[in-house]
Symmetry: C5
Subunit: 82 residues, 5 copies
């Protein structure tokens, strides 16, 4: 899993039907508390907002955090770091 | 998921039968709005064209965005960023 | 699999229900006995603590090391290196 | 998926039984038409040869391109670029 | 798949029960015949030893090379390069 800080929302009107209602966030990866300059896009599953530090699960396991486990995503925000 | 900009079509006449009809696009990855000089090839599922900024799902989850979920691909364009 | 050294606990109160009770650890990757400056977050499954050198399984295989194999994680500590 | 150029065959006499008959190729990754100095080994499924530019599918999806989808591989050549 | 050279055994007494009997090897990745300074840990399935050049399958496909396909690993040595 990765730790990261949410830096932006991403809006996509034309997308896969199965992604309707998904909230896409751009996240900068944190390693050892430092920003890394590496980014990915994840779907939020815990009500996280811009500026919050979060945990992200990647790969096929990410889908297990969503109500629809057939959602075509490879990254989901699964927790907010205290 | 990754954000990227489509830079080219890739044409492959000799390919796996299950890939017939797939539209292959070369995409440059964007991070934090910047081009990264990193590229991958993805199958389009949303009618995206060269120059458009898109969302890409990678890994086995990518196949869930295609009509034939047994397509041997690891990257699919699943949305166009507004 | 990766070899790493546990450097910290990560606390997340607001998280996916299926992650309740999971112990998150930040791990620095070791290669050839050297610290690499690369980090990831893994769930512990063997009672490992800070400062211990461990083996980490990543990807969907990681879940096979947990009691609940539907846990949405992509990295699990599966052994402690002697 | 990745675009690459086949640079060599790899011969392995002692291997997993399920890999008997597999043709292993070392491939240099191409990005934006340029060689990258990054390499991987893939099983050929389309009759590609040294010097040809190919498309490679990685991860568990790669196996869907093979007759035996239980082949323990994570990279398969699925097309030849025109 | 990756080509690599086995550089060491890794001993882990306290580990997941499902990993009992697994032989862990640290492998340096080779690209185009050159050492890369990148390393991973893989389970041996073909009787390989230190100093041998091997093929490694990563990800969930790796498990298909083992007798117990539920082994929580993401990297298995599947062949010895001639």
């Amino acid at each position: 899993m990765l730790k990261g800080i949410i830096i932006d929302n991403i809006v996509s009107t034309r997308k896969q039907e199965s992604l309707l209602g998904s909230k896409f966030m751009e996240v900068e990866i944190l390693e050892n508390g430092q920003r890394t300059g590496k980014y990915l896009v994840a779907i939020d599953s815990v009500g996280a907002g811009i500026g919050e530090t979060v945990l992200i699960t990647t790969g096929s396991s990410a889908r297990l955090a969503l109500r629809n486990t057939a959602t075509p995503t490879d990254a989901v925000i699964v927790g907010i770091v205290d």
